[in-house]
Amino acid sequence: MTEVVKPIPSTWCPGCGDFGVMAALKNSLKELKVPTEETVIVGGIGCSGGIHNFLDGYGFHSLHGRLLPTAVGVKLANPKLTVVAVGGDGDGYAIGMGHFIHTLKKNVDITYIVMNNETYGLTKGQPSPTAKVGFHGNIESPFDSVLTALSIPSAGYIARGFSGAPREAAQYVTEALRYNRERRGFAFVEILSPCVTYNDTYQLWRQQVENVEKLPGYDRSQRAKAFASVLEVKERGKIPVGQIFRVADDKGVPALDKTLLPMIERSPTTADISLEHNLTKYQKLVSSFS
């Protein structure tokens, strides 16, 4: 066996919520027996974004806010890979917001995990787009990623977990990866992961989280009901968590990579690009200009 790069010990503060997320992702990849060499973890920039250094598998450290287009590029070039994009709430909902919405719209078979700590951990505690009014002088109302995701018609898998409840969080990540592997489309999982150094919300969040799936008659395949339930839970001062939405098996928008590359074996990275193989077709292209 060739010796390759080994995961390094994490650089997170002791007690950081990101540990729970890492444990969840590690377990899910193991449970689904994803081969290390077929795993690609695309990290954003932030404390959260360093996660690929601490895990087995191919790791790509993207630019701040650009992890989603990068991950989309990887997956479209080689649909055989299991691609997980992992970043912070600042990365995803501030500088990368446009890509978040457009990746929901594109619906490529990747899983996107956002470690939401309602702050910019790496730059030392400024308010992020999810920060509450009053946090570090924040006067803007927070943004809710789940509501945004629900409003994008192609969004088919939306969950929110809490790193204080790693077993559930792992379950959502596993479901998300399964959803990708079935070529159903993009899966979005936000995990509340407190920043113990700049915004320690463990106790508060433990009291506030409420699993929508436990609401009487909740049906996670009903988008409108999911939307109403999320709003209703929030109005009660709670944080809705759970597998909030999963499109019914017979519904949903086809995954982009499946549409573009119906046969997983034939892709931009597997194409035979030798001149000999393509010469006749190339000649035809050139002569189409005469």
């Binding site: 250094n53 598998g57 630019l63 989309v72 590029g73 479209l76 034939r266 001149l275 050139v286 005469s290």
Partner: protein, 631 residues
């Protein structure tokens, strides 16, 4: 130190074409020529000056026709039919769009030039103007050559003059051909008589163009063509007004730089493209949308250029040969991504179809003003190669080359085109596919990895190039990052590691030199007058060389094809061989000249910048005048 200084209090007044001789460090006043470029080169011709059309005895060896009207007038169809006709007559073609777009929105125009010798640029003046509205006459008349004529649409054009022929083009189309839209083919029919075209060949061109649509459409267009011929005879015009020589160009294809670039990329094994629509780069994406799916490739239109370059980086990292293409504003947005690809050592081809900037600038206008930006863009330092092809087949060749270089040297490679080169079409011999090779450099494989004891993505090697694994390869698991990193790809701020990593990357600028496209040298080997240019200035420079030679001024033209790293050795040899070298470029500050001066300060006194920044490409006389020191 400036390449040329502007005399205090004498700010540039927006004069388009400027030569500024530079000797040493003294400030020299810039010699400004004329008042506007159009006026310098093509003096405005009032109708009186044009006079009655003179019938040249000899057929024209070089003709240019301009067609102007409202969008929907079919200006492009006429230009296309003319191109096909001249093509069939063995002439070399150069077609341009939106030559007149100075005038109000909605206006469309196109020009077709045909020449017995190869041409790569627009003619300095027009021999024929087809005008569907008054605007076209107003602007077009200024471009009309002595002896030229205007074919004007009766009813739509009011201007009169001895060289303006009013024919009922749209009226005939509407009343007799069944639809006003046929006025384009009616005009082509009329022109075919006025210019003494071979009627059978001309009719065949219409047949070939509309044949695919079959049946009724073809019938109607052929009828329109015949009607067009009829109305000239009915008007009692003495025809032909003048004629065009026959050429012996054979087996040519007609292609734009953007199309050649798209083709080159596919043939080089390019299989992934991400972009965002922007003039004049969009056609690269549109052509690839047609080509790539036939080869298991993918084209994605991203939500913006930030997404486009990062998607491209993702695909390139995954192992697909990848390109993105953009222009001005998009290039600015891609800047962070360029440095990321550079540090992470991700191979990527970035095409910059330059337009007039900054900001939104002049989206449809011509300029070569991104060079210094492309060479230096990004915070921090990383190696990159900047290539600049001069004509369609050169675009094809250098695109293949760029795609190989990117993977071989694991860095971003830029191809700089410019507006006219991107959009205009020219005749060229079909591309030579036998020369194409696919070189993937140190891309490793499962087999190679299996034999290795240790695999490190950023391993220090002799030439700084490490084996590159891609996801999916067993034994190639690695970390790729834009952070400074150690050999494993783990973040490192160790000063010694930093020094070594910087050298590993930056040394490529020296080591790759032999691998980079060499300049082409054109003209007299013994000439004492040099010309330096890149991109589409190739066309007007080559043409100017012909004229200068006739006037007893032999010249030697250094066509730079690699702009960065600056081809120091080749330039030294060249500059030592001449007394003076005119650096011809479409920008204000003489950007390539500045680079040369920076690299070769001792030879700088020989350089004479010839710049033009009015949104229009050079035409041959501009360069002839500059070299001869004429106003």
């Amino acid at each position: 130190m400036e390449f040329f200084e502007i005399e205090k209090g004498k700010l540039n007044t927006g004069v388009g074409l400027t030569i500024a001789p530079r000797t040493g460090h003294q400030a020299r006043p810039r010699q400004a020529m004329g008042s506007t470029p159009a006026e310098q080169v093509h003096p405005p011709l009032s109708t009186e000056r044009v006079g009655p059309p003179v019938r040249p005895r000899e057929p024209l060896n070089d003709i240019s026709l301009m067609i102007g009207g409202q969008g929907g007038d079919g200006t492009l169809t006429i230009s296309d039919l003319l191109g096909r006709y001249f093509h069939a007559r063995g002439l070399y073609i150069y077609t341009a769009r939106a030559v007149l777009s100075r005038i109000r929105g909605g206006h469309a125009d196109a020009s077709t030039r045909a020449h017995v010798d190869p041409v790569w640029s627009q003619k300095a003046s027009q021999d024929v103007l087809v005008a569907f509205d008054e605007d076209a006459v107003k602007v077009g008349l200024k471009e009309l050559a002595p002896g030229g004529f205007v074919l004007a649409d009766q009813g739509s054009v009011k201007s009169e003059g001895p060289n303006i022929y009013h024919l009922p083009l749209s009226i005939t189309a509407a009343s007799k051909a069944g639809n006003g839209l046929y006025k384009n083919v009616v005009s082509f029919g009329s022109l075919s008589v006025m210019l003494g075209f071979d009627p059978v060949v001309a009719r065949g061109v219409v047949e070939k163009r509309f044949g695919r649509r079959g049946g009724e459409a073809l019938e109607a267009n052929l009828k329109a063509f015949d009607l067009g011929r009829e109305i000239v005879r009915e008007a009692g015009l003495k025809t032909p007004i003048f004629t065009v020589a026959q050429g012996n160009a054979k087996d040519q294809i007609l292609i734009s730089g953007n199309q050649a670039c798209a083709l080159g990329f596919v043939v080089a094994g390019g299989r992934f493209f991400a972009g965002y629509p922007i003039t004049p780069a969009t056609p690269i994406m549109e052509n690839l949308e047609k080509f790539l799916p036939q080869f298991d490739g993918i084209v994605r239109q991203a939500e913006d250029e930030l997404a486009a370059i990062n998607m491209a980086i993702g695909a390139a990292y995954a192992g697909a040969r990848t390109m993105t293409a953009t222009s001005g504003p998009g290039l600015s947005l891609m800047t962070e991504g360029m440095g990321h690809a550079g540090t992470a050592e991700v191979p990527l081809v970035i095409v910059d179809c330059q337009r007039a900037g900054p900001s939104t600038g002049e989206p449809t206008r011509h300029e070569q003003s991104d060079l210094l930006f492309v060479v230096f863009a990004s915070h921090g330092e990383f190696p990159r190669f900047v290539l600049s092809p001069g004509y369609a087949s050169d675009v094809f060749d250098l695109t293949v080359e760029a795609t190989n270089l990117a993977e071989k040297w694991q860095l971003p490679v830029f191809i700089m085109l410019d507006n006219d080169e991107s959009e205009n079409t020219q005749s060229t011999a079909p591309f030579d596919l036998s020369k194409v090779r696919v070189d993937r450099g140190r891309l490793t494989s499962n087999e190679e990895l299996a034999k290795m004891e240790v695999y490190k993505r950023y391993e220090f090697t002799q030439d700084g190039i490490s084996r590159r694994s891609v996801p999916g390869m067993k034994g190639g698991v690695s970390q790729t990052t834009g952070n400074e990193h150690d050999e494993w790809g783990h973040v490192s701020v160790n000063p010694e590691n930093r020094r070594k990593m910087m050298a590993k990357r930056m040394n490529r600028l020296e080591l790759a030199k032999k691998d980079l496209p060499a300049p082409h040298l054109w003209g007299d080997e013994k000439a004492r007058v040099g010309l330096i240019g890149y991109g589409s200035t190739y066309g007007p420079i080559r043409e100017a060389q012909r004229v200068l030679k006739e006037k007893g001024v032999p010249t030697r033209f250094f066509q730079a094809r690699t702009l960065w790293p600056v081809p120091r050795e080749a330039l030294t040899t060249f500059l030592e061989s001449v007394d003076v070298a005119y650096v011809v470029e479409n920008n204000y500050t003489g950007q390539f000249g500045r680079l040369i001066r920076q690299e070769l300060p001792e030879l700088a006194p020989k350089l004479r910048p010839v710049v033009k920044f009015d949104g229009l490409a050079f035409r041959a006389p501009d360069i002839v005048h500059a070299v001869r020191g004429e106003p």
